[in-house]
């Protein structure tokens, strides 16, 4: 970007926890049919406690503590044996009690890290803290007034705060994707960014290289509530330009809160820090300190599912996948589970000390398809793989047919695009569309003889040394066969035929 400036970024991520009930009361935190509480009838998911009625008291949901500890353990944090809940006091219509119960001086997890990979290599991003808090209701602004929906008030959140170790939009994107993959793998967060399960605030400043050497930081701006990885990257890009532009023209960056407008690709000022709130944090006297013994923490640790890092290593060691492929596959829990099911379908085992050769040979093309064509189709429609028509059986069948040389890769792409829409079985589509590749030497030999007979000049030229004419012959047969001939086999057979003295 700008050579004389360094960008300093810290990210605060709010994850809604996928517990049954809200953090301090018995209201559901999501509907039993999986719908988010944001989508049901307005103000139908409340009780006196989460609506802040006089005389009500909060009671801690233990699952929330468990999930917070899981997040902390997975990011190598120190888990505090005693942590307290604190009141963050401010007035806003969607905050029922006039304070949010959060954590201030003794958060449940501290001092962890997340390793990320970018085009510049590996980097460790330190995590400052993770704490628990309750979500507020939702305000919807109309013309001249606003309305409040409290369905979401009291839904449990963890806030994951990074140190300002991030230096580029790419690093920010990598960090967020890693973190997202982590919390979804752990099963503590649904990770649906459109629904607001996973929200990101960006703290960003720039400084000259001299300032960096002196350990000084520039003034930072905060961009609140960016809800997609791409938008985070773009917001950061814009903000860097804006801040550098300000400084270069002799201005000063003001400490303020901004929002990202994705339509215009700009950040806009919301409020300056001069009007910043004094939250008057103090320990909530209605809740007793959370005390965790090391036994309980170890139980949680041993019950942790395999973390993305471990999964990635396993994909590489067991199935021989490349780092790139493994990374891409673990980026989504759904994608990873799909891959595993495909390998199950194939019936190929990881035998003995290492995988059987055929296991690896199968895994590679499966990975290629998933990270290539399948991902392209998913991104086009903006869906997850478990929302598509594609099943693990489909992919297993496709790859098997390719390996048996019954389908060419072009043919397979065609089949995939049909299955994507219809969900039909692979066999059915191949038959109907007549996409079976002709791969028997016998079936092709007639075509080969015919072609060689039809182009005697080219045959002589080839034999005289013009070897690239091979492609000419292969092309002719491909055209003749309507693309169904197996080009690799044709190559072989033509070479053989052309090297014989008698044609």
């Amino acid at each position: 970007m700008y050579r004389e400036f360094e960008t300093v970024i810290g990210l605060e991520v709010h994850c809604q926890l996928a517990t049954q009930t809200k953090i301090f009361c018995g209201c559901p935190s999501k509907m039993s049919d999986g719908r988010s509480v944001a989508h049901i009838e307005v103000n139908s998911n409340t009780c006196p406690i989460c609506a802040g009625h006089p005389g009500t008291l909060p009671v801690m949901n233990e699952k929330v503590v468990q999930y917070a500890v899981m997040a902390g353990l997975a990011t190598h944090c120190q888990i505090r044996p005693e942590s307290i809940l604190a009141r963050k006091n401010y007035f806003y219509p969607d905050l029922p009690k006039g304070y949010q119960i959060s954590q201030y001086e003794q958060p449940i997890c501290e001092s962890g890290w997340l390793d990320i990979r970018t085009s510049q290599g590996e980097k460790r991003i330190r995590i400052h803290r993770i704490h628990m808090e309750e979500d507020a209701g939702k305000s919807i602004h109309r013309s001249g007034f606003s309305v409040v929906n409290l369905n979401r008030a009291g839904v449990p959140l963890i806030e994951i705060v990074s140190e300002p170790d991030i230096r580029s939009p790419e690093e920010a994107g990598a960090y967020l994707r890693s973190l997202h993959g982590l919390v979804t793998h752990l099963g503590i967060c649904d990770g649906n960014m459109e629904e607001g399960n996973f929200r990101c605030d960006v703290n960003i400043s720039v400084r000259t290289l001299d300032e960096a050497k002196a350990g000084r930081f520039g003034t930072r701006a905060e961009i609140k509530n960016v809800n997609s990885f791409r938008f985070v990257e773009k917001a950061i890009e814009y903000e860097i330009h804006r801040q550098v532009g300000l400084i270069r023209s002799g201005g000063k960056v003001v400490q303020e809160t901004r929002s990202y407008d994705s339509a215009k690709n700009v950040t806009l000022s919301l409020r300056t820090k001069e009007e910043a709130q004094d939250y008057r944090y103090f320990p909530d006297p209605d809740l007793i300190p959370i005390q965790l013994n090391s036994q309980w923490i170890e139980q949680i640790r041993s019950a942790l599912p395999e973390l993305p890092e471990q999964l990635k290593n396993r994909l590489m060691s067991d199935w021989g996948l490349s780092l790139y492929d493994a990374d891409a596959i673990i980026s989504s829990k759904a994608l990873f589970q799909f891959f595993e099911k495909v390998m199950q379908q194939s019936g190929l085992q990881i035998t003995g000390a290492g995988p059987g050769e055929s296991g690896r040979e199968f895994a590679k093309p499966v990975a290629n398809w998933l990270t290539g064509e399948v991902s392209r189709l998913l991104n086009e429609e903006g869906i997850e793989i478990d929302q598509s028509n594609l099943t693990p059986e489909h992919l297993a069948d496709l790859v098997t047919l390719i390996q048996k040389q019954i389908l060419s890769s072009t043919g397979a792409k065609q089949v995939l695009s049909i299955i994507w829409k219809t969900g039909e079985q692979v066999e059915t589509v191949v038959e109907r569309e007549g996409l079976k590749q002709v791969s028997e030497a016998g079936a092709l030999s007639e075509l080969i003889s015919k072609t060689l007979a039809a182009f005697p000049n080219q045959v002589s030229e080839y034999r005289a040394g013009k070897e690239k004419l091979l492609g000419f012959f292969v092309g002719k047969v491909m055209k003749e066969s309507g693309g169904k001939a197996n080009p690799a086999l044709l190559n072989e057979l033509f070479k053989k035929a052309l090297s014989e003295e008698n044609s």
Partner: protein, 497 residues
């Protein structure tokens, strides 16, 4: 104890239950009597009378009694007993105002746990009693629904903040009443009005449904004419509530069965007075104490001495900081607890959103409904918690609070009970202290330390001053020693009043 009051409205629970069974009195008759008196009364003790509901509850008791032929004392120890509930406790379907314009017509969607337990035990809710707005006050002159007058001396204050409950019991408008105590709000009006008022150990009774003033200090407790009646109420209400994380895990109290332990001087039970060590805090008997009050307290101490109790001088050196600590800690928590009153979800809303020019204007219209004392405490509390001041005020106050508690921890190594006055004076005339908040705050100097330390404490009538105004003796016990506290108190009450 001589039954000077002939109306059943002044009888003990024991006597009432006997009368029910003898059929010389019915639950409905009793409730009707109380309601009649309450409607006639000029004391201002009630904000809302629950006539229909009360008669329905009394009728249900009557039906049950007819069917069973007896009062189910074990299952429903408060069977048919008329009760007043301080209007700071929520009652489902019944207006709960907290004596504030803010909640003038607020009808809660749920009932406080303590009240639920009383109702399940057979109590009949006569009505919601008057109080200082949101529990903030020592004279019950801060109510948006008018002050509460002293039950025997019109024109004098009843004390606060639970003035309505104290006056109602003294005037026989109900047998029992619930109050709440954050800095003395049960014990002070009990002392001024001449009734028994008990604040249990913090955590003894669930706070779920108690509109919070200071969360780490608030406790619910009973008013009664007799210690043994208050004992029954405490037993009924005590016990863990999963809806209140600060409620104790200890089993329910059994005050009713142990309340006679010291009273039987003819000795079938007989706890031994010689094993009772009574502490007199030397810091409490210095200047500022009204002579009549001092005399009454010294008289009570003499009685205990005669019984054989050991009198020990104890020192509570951090007493001098207690009022300051309280007026930092309580107001800080209150400023946060009262933030929910913004007119958005419930309560009065003088200005609709569309009329307001901005959010500030909207908030101003609702928040200005608070009375002056409530506003004063919210502002103080906000200041004490604010950036740059929190360390010096709120945090410091919490540290000193621990010191106040440590004083008591140490004292209770040497003694079982501490005696002091409840208040430096008896009741005062209405309006006398209204313009001097600080003077008003000093009424609480003896009661506050027990709240700061979470200790069980009570006011017990022990005499009258030269104007006939009641004097209360303050008894403090070690944490969770309600059974002991009440049994000692009852012994005194039986002999001395």
């Amino acid at each position: 104890m001589a039954n000077l009051m002939s109306s059943p409205r002044f009888w003990s629970i024991h006597d009432l239950h006997q009368a029910f069974e003898k059929k010389s009195l019915s639950p409905v008759e009793l409730t009707q009597e109380c309601l009649k008196e309450a409607k006639k009364s000029q004391l201002g003790a009630f904000i809302t009378l629950c006539e229909k509901k009360a008669l329905k509850q009394a009728q249900a008791a009557q039906s049950r009694l007819s069917k069973d032929g007896r009062v189910p004392r074990e299952e429903m120890p408060l069977f048919g007993i008329p009760i007043g509930i301080k209007d700071l406790l929520t009652t489902d379907g019944v207006r709960t105002t907290c004596a504030s314009k803010m909640l003038e017509n607020y009808v809660p969607p749920y009932t406080a746990t303590a009240v639920q337990r009383l109702e399940a035990a057979g109590a009949v809710i006569v009505g919601k009693t008057n109080l200082d707005e949101f529990g903030m006050g020592s004279s019950n002159e801060n109510s948006a629904f008018g002050p509460v007058s002293h039950p025997t001396h019109p024109g004098w204050v009843a004390g606060g903040s639970s003035g309505g409950s104290a006056a109602a019991v003294r005037a026989g408008l109900c047998t029992l009443a619930l109050g709440t105590d954050t800095g003395g709000s049960i014990r002070l009006p009990a002392s001024y009005c001449g009734v028994v008022g008990i604040k249990p150990t913090y955590g003894r009774i669930s706070r779920y449904g108690l509109v919070a003033y200071a969360s780490s200090l608030d406790q619910i407790g009973p008013f009664a004419q007799r210690v043994e009646d208050a004992a029954i109420a405490i037993d009924v209400m005590s016990g863990r509530d999963p809806l209140d994380s600060t409620s104790s895990n200890r089993p329910k109290t059994h005050c009713a069965s142990s309340v006679f332990n010291f009273a039987n001087s003819t000795g079938s039970t007989a706890s031994d007075w010689s094993k009772v060590r009574i502490g007199i805090p030397k810091e409490y008997f210095v200047g500022g104490l009204a002579p009549d009050v001092e005399k009454a307290i010294q008289g009570a101490i003499a009685w205990f001495t005669k019984k054989g109790a050991k009198i020990v001088s104890v020192s509570l050196p951090h007493t001098q900081y207690a009022v300051s600590v309280y007026y930092v800690v309580a107001v800080s928590e209150a400023s946060s607890n009262l933030a929910r009153f913004d007119g958005v979800r419930f309560g009065a809303r003088p200005m609709e959103a569309e009329q307001a020019s901005d959010l500030t204007a909207y908030y101003k219209s609702t928040r200005s409904l608070f009375g002056a004392e409530v506003k004063r405490r919210i502002i103080l509390g906000t200041f004490a918690l604010s950036s740059g001041y929190q360390d010096a005020f709120y945090k410091r106050a919490r540290q000193v609070r621990r010191k106040v508690k440590e004083d008591f921890d140490q004292a209770f190594q040497k003694v079982d009970l501490i005696i002091s006055p409840v208040s430096p004076s008896t009741a005062f005339k209405m309006g006398e202290k209204k313009n001097d908040p600080l003077k008003m705050y000093l009424n609480d100097v003896y009661t506050i330390p027990a709240n700061l330390s979470g200790l069980p404490a009570m006011s017990l009538p022990c005499g009258k001053d030269h104007e006939g105004l009641p004097i209360g003796m303050h008894l403090i016990a070690a944490p969770f020693q309600e059974e002991f506290l009440l049994s000692v108190a009852r012994a005194f009450q039986v002999e001395m009043t």
